[in-house]
């Protein structure tokens, strides 16, 4: 598939590259750190060296770990996230102290809100210099306390293997999340006697985590109660969130949904957890969800929330959200239960375990135990027929419709393509118009909404899944935040494809100003002339293609898909007037969802109340 001979997927790297380090045991903190990462199964890491972390970069030369040199530390963090999203394995990034540590704060916060397993190693000034305002010193553990699941400041090289093991354990178990390990220079620098340590395997000593015991098994009595509540529900909806993907529970979810014939909504973080092409799939709920998903939740008599967290972007105004629904809430994180919406049955546990339990009990109850839901199903399919996602095609001479481009992109790619997205209108259009039929094919920044996420995340995903096709959907505003990582993609031979939706605007903000600020556009116009994205792409070693008319769209996508030895950027020049619909205006309840202007008349009278 790859024509470039220089590309070495990680697993093809000869193990012998590692010979020096493998043959002798580490004797100092720096070697121990790298060896500990190898012991944790790390195959690839993303980073950029500097003063405080220098001693760790020396043993990297001899390590089996592939290090991807980024152009900005934010990129390293998002690459680690993209890698984790795509592979299910923890993403690893390593950066130096001070400004490099502050540069990874955004990806850490992103990983925190989207529960992405990630381990971030930061260099720190020598122990004796901590607290003296030394060069490139910052209080990294203090700064990142609120944006990590946990962080460590290591003060003794002897602790390194154990703490690295603890970091991976915390990042990957329970509700996954980012863990930061801050490492002072003197304890990893072989020229400093303080770095001396006696090696041991990271998992050969007990972890020292007396306060960490994530609970995964759901309470069987509660699972029984939940199954019975479901059986009696006449208008149930399975409300599925990103936790399903974290729990690797897509299969049991499919079994449960089919067994009960209950419609499923998949949140922005869960797109692909249940196949879009399945007749029970209603698609994405929430602020830009489709009418049926939003309205089915609103009219439900029972919401079965599986690894979802009643985010405000899903619920709209809370006091009007799903007013008649009882709630079953399943989450591995007990702090989610009852946080936003009171539940009738709250189950702390791993979604996979709990869903398997629900399947068992439902089978025992037998089909006769289930309430008659035929009326509900026909109501729901009535909405689907009446309110499909739609948009007006462009007139000759108009700029491209972003929805049209997204459909062409979908139709021009296999369904196992990994799609990464930035944040804005293009993200919503991607979630709406792509067809997600497989888990782990959609990677985006849902919780934090981090512009600039998509390109580095796509590189991380491609590094982890070199045989898969990876497309990044991006906006022009987003692109200008992290595009430089395409240089990384070129130099490191990690080719990705970018569909750049250039509407010359911070489109999503423009939409809000149009709808809620009387079309008073403030600081949202980027530029109609600069930058020249084709030249920019080419200067970074990628192929640049500009597409302006509808008939060029599919051929350009096909051309991009033929190029596998380098990255491709297609700039689609799109219509800035195009907005994302449906939309629940901020502050409104989900009953007040605004559909595409062409469907709005259908809501009056019948549609809204059927």
């Amino acid at each position: 598939m790859f024509s470039a001979g220089s590309f070495h997927p990680l697993h093809l790297r000869p193990r012998s590259w590692n010979s020096r380090l493998m043959s002798t045991n580490p004797t100092n903190g720096g070697e121990a750190l790298v060896r500990a990462l190898e012991c944790e199964g790390v195959e690839v890491m993303f980073g950029l060296p500097g003063g405080a972390i220098l001693p760790v970069y020396d043993p990297i030369i001899d390590s089996s770990i592939r290090h991807v040199l980024v152009r900005h530390e934010q990129g390293a963090g998002h690459m680690a996230e993209g890698y984790a999203h795509a592979t299910g394995k923890p993403g690893v990034c390593m950066v130096t102290s001070g400004p490099a540590a502050t540069n990874v704060v955004t990806p850490l916060a992103d990983a925190m809100l989207d529960s992405v397993p990630m381990v971030c190693i930061t260099g720190q000034v020598p122990l004796a210099a901590i607290g003296t305002d030394a060069f490139q010193e910052c209080d990294t553990t203090g700064i990142t306390m609120a944006v990590t699941k946990h962080n460590f400041l290591v003060t003794d090289p002897q602790d390194i293997p154990r703490i690295i093991h603890e970091a991976f354990h915390i990042a990957t178990t329970g509700r996954p999340g980012p863990v930061l390990v801050d490492i002072p220079k003197d304890i990893v620098d072989p020229v400093n006697p303080r770095s001396a340590m006696t090696w041991y395997e990271p998992d050969s000593v007990p972890m020292e985590l007396p306060g960490y015991h994530p609970q995964t098994d759901g309470d069987p009595a509660l699972i029984q109660e939940a199954a019975e509540l479901i059986a009696h529900a006449e208008r149930p909806v399975l409300y599925v969130g990103g936790g399903i993907l974290k729990a690797r529970a897509a299969e049991p979810l499919l079994e449960l949904a089919e067994l009960l014939a209950i419609p499923v909504v998949t949140t922005l973080m869960a797109r692909g957890a249940f196949p879009d092409s399945h007749e029970l799939c209603l698609g994405m709920p929430g602020m830009h969800g489709n009418y049926t998903a939003v309205t089915a939740m609103q009219r439900a008599d029972l919401l079965v929330s599986l690894g979802a967290r009643f985010d405000d972007r899903v619920t709209g105004r809370l006091d009007g959200f799903a007013p008649d629904a009882k709630i079953i809430h399943v989450d591995i994180d007990p702090a989610e239960l009852g946080k936003v919406r009171q539940y009738n049955v709250g189950i702390q546990g791993d979604c996979k375990v709990v869903i398997e339990g629900l399947v068992d009990i439902t089978k025992k109850l037998g089909p006769g135990a289930q309430a008659d839901r035929s009326a509900w199903r026909s109501t729901v399919s009535g909405w689907q027929e009446k309110f499909p996602l739609t948009y007006e095609q462009s007139l000759p001479g108009d700029k491209l419709k972003p929805q049209f481009v997204m459909e062409q992109l979908r139709d021009g790619n296999p369904d196992d393509t990994i799609l990464c997205s930035g944040v804005g209108q293009h993200q919503m259009h991607a979630s709406q118009f792509w067809r997600f039929d497989h888990p782990y094919t959609w990677i985006n920044s849902g919780g934090l909404g981090t512009m600039g996420f998509s390109i580095p995340a796509a590189i991380g995903a491609k590094a982890g899944m070199p045989d898969r096709r990876v497309w990044a959907v991006d906006g022009d505003g987003n692109f200008q935040m992290t595009a430089q990582e395409l240089v990384t993609a070129t130099v490191e031979d990690i080719p990705i494809k970018v569909a750049l939706f250039n509407n010359s605007y911070l489109g999503m903000v423009r939409q809000w100003q149009e709808m809620f600020y009387d079309e008073r556009f403030s600081e949202v116009h980027l530029s109609d002339h600069v930058p020249d994205y084709v030249k920019w792409a080419e200067s970074m070693g990628a192929v640049g293609i500009r597409v302006e008319s509808p008939e060029e769209v599919a051929p350009a996508i096909a051309k991009a898909n033929e190029i596998n030895d380098r990255s491709v950027v297609i700039e689609f020049v799109t219509d800035a007037r195009e907005n994302v619909f449906p939309m629940v205006p901020a502050g409104a309840t989900n009953s007040d969802v605004v559909v595409d202007p062409s469907q709005q008349h259908l809501l009056d009278g019948t549609g809204g109340d059927s």
Partner: protein
């Protein structure tokens, strides 16, 4: 202004945490980032040196309290956290207080005897004493001493344990 910590809107939380650097900052951070104030706080190692016990009183109720307790429990360094029911727990607080003696040394000594406080340091025109009791009783003594002129006052914040009858 002087709301008694005994009034029902105050809640006492007791956490067992790892006795490590930074743990207090993590705990305090969960309150400050929500704009909650910690009214009183006492921290010291338990009989097992690896752990400390933190007792704090907070002016939060209902869902926010429930939420902050769950978030605290999620902290990796927090081993255990419970809210103490005032009806089933014992609370104590220590106060050091320096009061002007002036012309009224005799009346002052009567109060000291009355409350069984200790005189720790006796100067020419002021006296320092210590007393430990239920926080509400400390409030009471504080009010009795106020008319003499309080020079300095330091309370430790309450510590609490569940009582043994339940």
């Amino acid at each position: 202004m002087n709301v008694s910590p005994a009034s029902p809107r105050w809640h006492t939380l007791v956490a067992t945490v790892e006795n490590k650097p930074g743990v207090l900052a993590r705990v305090a951070g969960l309150f400050s980032r929500r704009g909650f104030n910690i009214h009183s706080l006492a921290v010291a190692p338990t009989n097992d040196e690896r752990f400390s016990r933190i007792t704090f009183t907070v002016d939060i109720e209902g869902t926010p309290l429930d939420q902050v307790v769950k978030q605290l429990d999620k902290l990796i360094n927090v081993v255990d956290i419970t809210e103490l029911n005032p009806a089933h727990s014992v609370e104590r607080e220590l106060m050091l207080i320096t009061v002007e003696t002036g012309e009224s040394r005799k009346e002052l000594m009567e109060i000291v005897d009355d409350y069984r406080a200790y005189v720790l340091s006796d100067g020419d025109d002021s006296m320092m004493m210590s007393w430990s009791a239920r926080p509400a009783r400390l409030d009471e003594l504080e009010e009795r001493l106020r008319p003499f002129g309080i020079v300095e006052l330091q309370r430790t914040g309450r510590v609490a344990l569940p009582s043994l009858d339940d």
